[in-house]
Symmetry: C2
Subunit: 130 residues, 2 copies
């Protein structure tokens, strides 16, 4: 099978993360905004490659989830890059709606203010917006 052959050629470095063999998966949109990072086990990676939609492994729920399966905010895969030590994959995705379950476009919406050492929320709440 072609996808399994590609995974074998890639030879990803699954790390022991919270007791599971996982890769780091970073999702960015087509404007290069970092949307989120989560984990993939081998099955989540295969399912992502097979379906063309992002699937992650949830360490809290201990299972694979299709991003957006409840919210509808799915992520369609456009491009994939691996890093030099193969423990992380970068996915360029087409984000439907927004990425964060807290209803912000990106999960990275807590800014550390380096001037006053405070933490502030940036971006807008997408549910309040519409």
């Amino acid at each position: 099978m072609e996808i399994e052959k590609m995974i074998k050629q890639l030879n990803p470095k699954f790390r022991n993360i919270d007791g599971k063999k996982l890769l780091i998966a970073i999702a960015i949109d087509e404007d290069k905004t970092v949307l989120m990072t989560a984990f993939m086990d081998e099955e989540a990676l295969k399912t992502t490659l097979e379906t063309g939609y992002m699937h992650y492994y949830s360490t809290s729920r201990d299972k694979i989830w299709r991003k957006g399966e409840e919210s509808g905010n799915v992520q369609k895969v456009k491009e994939i890059y691996a890093d030099c030590d193969k423990d992380a994959l970068l996915f360029v995705v087409e984000q439907k709606g927004w990425a964060c379950h807290e209803n912000y476009y990106t999960c990275f919406h807590y800014k550390l203010n380096l001037k006053n050492n405070d933490i502030e929320i940036v971006g807008e709440n997408m549910v309040n917006k519409y």
Copy 2:
């Protein structure tokens, strides 16, 4: 101390990664190109905040390293964002030279070609370039 207060307020979620308590650290440049991802323990995070330069925790060498300490390709911190579950930090950095020890600008220079399921190197080798 102000930095310790900010870390306490942030309340980062250190995961058990390869037997250590670590955060995921993603570095992007000011044009939002994803440069690399690596890990930080609490000391690496503190040292990064105190010095303004990226310090990571190396799981293979089992110690903190200042990015660029050998190559000179340091990363000066410009902005920091935390994600919603606080297990990952996104650092906007000013990258000196290039990020990857394989002499590419970004560590994510292995592209998975989704048309033919092959893996190809993208970008240019910066040492050959100059």
